[in-house]
């Protein structure tokens, strides 16, 4: 008995030691992850003259909130934000609806060639996005769509194979009973989709909606390629052009970065679960 107890105590001590080491390593990693964000915030609140103090000061002589006022005056952040919303929101709503509809068809409706067509659609995901950059630009230019929001809005409205894939996966797990009951009551597929599938798929729709919204909000490459007129710039493009113009005025540039991150951080604070589940889901499918 005594031997076992001593062994257990020893193992307990070893575990505590290992836990301590794990905490220290995680702490170090956590600091490395957090420092850029904290440094961004700290720099954004420094008074103009204290930027290049050496050694670097985390907190200046006072908190220079005026940096935020200045960047709202110098950069069209609010205009950029609304432009981003114009680009992101309609695409998101219509795109998600279209994706859910076809995901429902692929998951539940019976028609010849269904699974082959699904594989075909999923197969198009192998075409790398960067390869599409030039071909898509050439096409939209011949449409006369460049320097407008159309190339950023319209393609997304036709749905994305990736989103269809995940929604189909979810809808497949919904029980058939409700649907069968609705069918007996004479409900047609659109009715079943709107009244049964959509309400039951809410968690999956919210997850995909949040991920798409965040991706659209952060998109830089699309606006960079298609938009030329500053009054159409999205927030990210506005910010990038501001930062290349104000290059080394780091207090202002960092204030801009903080402002741009706030919507994402707020979204993440409220919907962390959805972000993480959305990612974990991709892994399980692997």
């Amino acid at each position: 008995m005594a031997v076992i107890a001593a062994g257990r105590r020893k193992r307990g001590a070893a575990k505590r030691l290992a836990d301590l080491a794990a905490y220290m390593l995680l702490g170090l990693g956590g600091v490395i992850m957090a420092v850029p964000f904290l440094w961004m915030l700290a720099t954004s609140l420094k008074p103009d003259g204290e930027l290049y103090s050496y050694p670097p000061e985390w907190i200046g002589s006072r908190l220079a909130w005026e940096n935020y006022r200045i960047i709202f005056e110098e950069a069209h952040l609010i205009r950029g934000f609304f432009n981003t919303m114009i680009v992101v929101v309609p695409t998101l709503i219509i795109g998600l609806f279209v994706c859910a509809m076809s995901a429902y068809a692929f998951a539940k409706l019976r028609f010849p060639g269904r699974d082959k067509l699904f594989m075909l659609l999923i197969g198009t995901m192998v075409v790398p996005g960067a390869v599409m950059m030039i071909p898509a630009f050439i096409m939209f230019k011949t449409f006369g769509w460049t320097d407008s929001w159309k190339p950023l809005i319209i393609p997304g409205m036709f749905g994305a194979p990736m989103v269809i894939f995940f929604l189909r996966q979810f809808i497949k797990t919904l029980p058939d009973e409700l649907e069968d009951a609705a069918k007996i009551d004479g409900m047609s597929p659109p009715g079943i989709f709107l009244r049964i599938i959509v309400p039951l798929s809410k968690p999956a729709l919210i997850t995909q909606g949040i991920l798409s919204f965040n991706a659209g909000y952060n998109d830089y490459l699309g606006p960079l390629i298609y938009l030329n007129s500053p009054e159409r710039y999205t927030l990210q493009l506005e910010l990038a052009s501001f930062s290349s113009y104000y290059g080394t005025e780091w207090t202002l540039v960092m204030a801009g970065a903080v402002v741009a991150l706030i919507p994402t951080l707020v979204l993440f604070a409220f919907a962390q679960r959805f972000f993480i589940e959305g990612i974990a889901l991709t892994g399980i499918k692997a």
Binding site: L26, G30, F137, A160, N214, Q236, S243, G283
Partner: protein, 309 residues
């Protein structure tokens, strides 16, 4: 199957009604899946095939395209040293993929210990992956600043004479790799955490009975157990790394002296700064073929080390 057997039991009118229902279901089915297929044809297949033709011409906007055969491809592979240089840069930058995977697995193993506060750490590691590349590039440019940057100050404190990072031809790419690993860890950690949770505990228990130590368990149980996810992360990160470009444009502008111009960045420059759309189309096709080849090679080799149960 189920439909057929139950239909067989039913009487005739019921059977007919079923067939009608099936017809309507079929029509709605095709209608519902039509939009994504229209999207694929209009926004993917058409421009892709069109660009295949464009790659055989000297097309630029505002002038008629002349058919020049394989000249663009010849130029890319034989006469344009920047293609090879930027390809090399791209593979160099992709070194961040294995480094990031090792770091992510290590962090996931620590987080898997179910310590208190692990959700907080998980959130911290995940944070950069949802943040705008523009905002992150801005702060990293400031951190990497040669004279007043935070990184070089702290490296100086511990006695390291640090390079000028982004403005040094040799160190710009390592800096980009560091930034990339920092920014990309979160997704791999979450995938690894899910995978670690799925390795059956009975295997570990059996190994403990057999007297295996922690390292042996890791090598013989954990590593094979999570290999499908390792493969998934490898493929998706590699595809991402080979197409990486916005953060390079924002942090280094591709310099100094093209040392951080990736192939997609070069493609972008050829198309939008030199306006050589025909040549850019050829480069896009070459890139696409390279990516496909790498995926195929990985799938072939995966049979040797990926264990699906």
């Amino acid at each position: 199957m189920e439909a057929q057997t139950s239909a067989a039991v039913k009487t005739r009118p019921a059977k007919r009604k079923r067939r009608l229902l099936y017809r309507s279901e079929m029509r709605w089915g095709y209608l519902f899946i039509a939009p994504p297929f229209i999207g694929v044809f209009v926004f993917l297949l058409y421009p892709l095939l069109n660009s295949l033709y464009m790659s055989l011409t000297n097309f630029n906007f505002g002038q008629p395209a002349e058919f020049i055969g394989l000249d663009n491809y010849k130029r890319a592979l034989a006469d344009d040293p920047l293609v090879w240089k930027t390809l090399w840069n791209t593979f160099y930058a992709a070194l961040g993929v294995p480094l990031g995977m090792i770091a992510a697995l290590f962090a996931a193993l620590l987080l898997d210990r179910k310590l208190r506060g692990r959700h907080f750490f998980r959130m911290l590691f995940f944070l950069p992956t949802i943040c705008s590349v523009v905002a992150l590039a801005m702060v990293w440019r400031w951190i990497f600043n040669a004279d007043f940057g935070l990184l070089n100050y702290y490296l100086g404190v511990i006695g390291i004479d640090a390079p000028a990072w982004l403005i040094d031809q040799t160190w710009a790419m390592p800096a980009m790799i560091i930034q990339g690993v920092w920014g990309g860890l979160g997704v791999s950690i979450i995938l690894y955490l899910a995978a670690l949770g799925n390795v059956p505990t009975s295997l570990y228990e059996a190994a403990t009975v057999d007297g295996a130590n922690g390292w042996q368990k890791f090598i013989h149980i954990t590593v094979p157990g999570i290999s499908p996810v390792t493969f998934f992360i490898l493929i998706t990160s590699l595809i991402g790394a080979l197409q990486d470009f916005p953060r390079f444009q924002l942090l280094t502008g591709g310099g100094p002296n093209y040392s951080t111009t990736t192939i997609v960045y070069y493609l972008y420059t050829v198309a939008f700064q030199y306006s050589e759309m025909g040549y850019a189309s050829a480069l896009a096709w070459i890139l696409g073929i390279i990516i496909m080849l790498i995926i195929v090679i990985n799938f072939v080799f995966s049979k040797r080390w990926v264990h699906y149960n």
